[in-house]
Point group: C2
Chain length 352, copies 2
């Protein structure tokens, strides 16, 4: 599995529509999604999956270079429902089609049903004319793993060992599945992710590879914040780990935004999900700058309209001096439960 | 507009599902469609457009080389709703996105609504990453025109001058639109097509180019058949026409199947359309062997289980000695109102 910072053929995004995930029938999220898509489209091919109903609208809002393809989905989390692509080093590519159960199925999943999402990976492989490994018996989302492209995977126990995914498998068995299917040799297990992250704490909201043996980690110095202990635990593990090649891992701390809570007005903009509100006024959202996306020439970085936005941008610029930093106001994506990384999936470069 | 007998990049087919067009919820039609698709797939890339609901089923029934793409449609007539492709002779290609109103709109159209069908052409161009000419103000179906690839178009007045399409345009204006948008110089106008053909008598059921200045014409010697006068009229016009290059046109008569009528059992297998039966027991269907498809190495020719099947095959073999003749039992396609040519649309070869 190539690292995200390796060259891409392109990026897949799913158009936001679901009115219990996104305010005002998806209206505000679509504005933010369009900015993300059009920014990535400056660097590489973007394929946007969307419904019949939104096709014309997406066509109007997106650059003409963006390829729009109709596809049924249950929501808009390309990271978690698209294939995880693996390459053979000779220009060949395949997609892994994991099982998807909406982040926990009947145990603690976030919506029901999820059958459309579970069919996306296979259909994306068909679309790209590439072969697909059917791995639907193993529940995994793309947002729960990061690869350095050199044999190391990072993930969180909170997510991968959760009851709602693969409770019949031990940690060792899950590790073996990851290594086998991703061509990896080592898995670094963090305990947890971001506080109140409803994905059971995906890795992609707390920690990401920026180059081999180098990561960013979402960080707060506020010891009264429940996040402090969680980030500190990650730091301790990372500082005491070596990667698949035996290298120590350099950790860049990336400031967290001040705690972001959802307002009454925002809650009112969300339709009910199965008769219940999706969010409650004052609920803390799992905001994190680590949820950026690396496109071929840029870093697409969330902004939240808080003082930490500038500092986060500065840190990222220092880490990626060769890339352009495109910071996009992403509160309307965060309300859906994830951020820019969660709504993207890279397709590594390959020989068509 | 290249001729169908020129080299193809591939073929588009739409999967049959509509239960008022196709017996038993589309079950029998899908068996026939699968045979057609898998036969063409031996020669060239086939792209099958289908709904979310039928995707897995189509994947099971179709060869693995067939590319399946989800797309919303109102029915399964790729010929009439896909783009008409035009090329520039330098490897470039564009799609013409005509207006589609279900063969006559509110005047004498065959179903309502048709908004999904009307969006297919644009989406197919997006899918192929090619540009699209928006010609939706002009109502035209692919089945109502044939091109020799050398500047000549044949069509029928019965269809193109029908009240339900472009009543505001004169014959001369329609001819001009065809020439402009298809890169043609001459239109040969036949008066009519096949008896009881509910498309207002599409050209592709009565007459087709088999090479420049050479056509097949659906024919019966039975002067008591209302079709006799119609075919004779076409013959007279063709024999008294020259093509865009001034050549006389050689006409191969292609026998018609004996009149085919729909049975009570077949009618019972069709759901109601807007509260009314689609077909009536004993109704004559517009069966014709001219409704074949030319793939890169083969002719995909309908069979109806009647004695004329063999003779039609013999004639086609004489006309296309260099191609394989694949004859497929197509009564279950005919019941939907068209045949093998109607469910296909060729994509000419181009530089990707």
């Amino acid at each position: 599995m190539p690292a995200e910072f390796s060259p891409h053929y392109g990026t897949i995004v799913i158009w936001a529509e679901r009115s219990d995930s996104w305010q005002y029938g998806g209206y505000k999220a679509r504005e933010a999604f369009a900015k993300v898509i059009n920014a990535i489209a400056k660097d590489e091919k973007v394929i946007v999956l969307c419904s019949f109903q939104q096709y014309d609208n997406a066509r109007k809002m997106l650059d003409s270079s963006v390829k729009i393809v109709e596809m049924s989905t249950d929501d808009a989390w390309a990271r978690d429902v698209c294939p995880t692509f693996v390459v053979d080093g000779k220009g060949g590519i395949r997609g892994n089609d994991w099982g998807f159960n909406a982040w926990g199925g009947l145990v603690d999943g976030l919506y029901f049903p999820w059958d459309k999402d579970n069919r996306v990976a296979r259909k994306v492989c068909d679309l790209l004319d590439i072969d697909c490994y059917n791995k639907r018996d193993f529940i995994l989302e793309g947002g729960s793993i990061h690869s350095d492209g050199e044999g190391t995977i990072i993930t969180t126990k909170a997510c991968l060992l959760s009851e709602g995914r693969n409770p019949q498998l031990s940690q060792a068995e899950i590790e073996q599945k990851l290594c086998e299917n991703l061509g990896a040799e080592k898995v670094i297990w963090l305990e947890n992710g971001i506080y109140n992250d409803e994905t059971n704490e995906h890795i992609d909201n707390i920690c990401a590879f920026v180059k081999p043996a180098e990561v960013v980690l979402a960080w707060t110095d506020d010891q009264t914040d429940p996040q402090y202990k969680m980030s500190k635990s990650c730091l301790d593990i990372l500082e005491n780990s070596v990667d698949a090649k035996g290298r120590k891992i350099k950790v860049h701390k990336l400031i967290l935004p001040k705690p972001i809570t959802i307002t009454k007005q925002e809650c009112d903009g969300l339709d009910l999900c199965d008769g219940e509100p999706t969010r409650t006024e004052g609920e803390r959202l799992a905001g994190s700058y680590v949820n950026f996306y690396i496109s071929n020439n840029s870093i697409i970085l969330p902004a939240f309209g808080v003082p930490q936005d500038e500092q986060a941008k500065k840190t990222i610029l220092e880490i990626f001096p060769e890339r352009k930093i495109v910071q996009i106001y992403a509160r309307d994506i965060l309300i859906g439960g994830g951020n820019i990384h969660c709504i993207t999936q890279q397709i590594p470069q390959y020989n068509k």
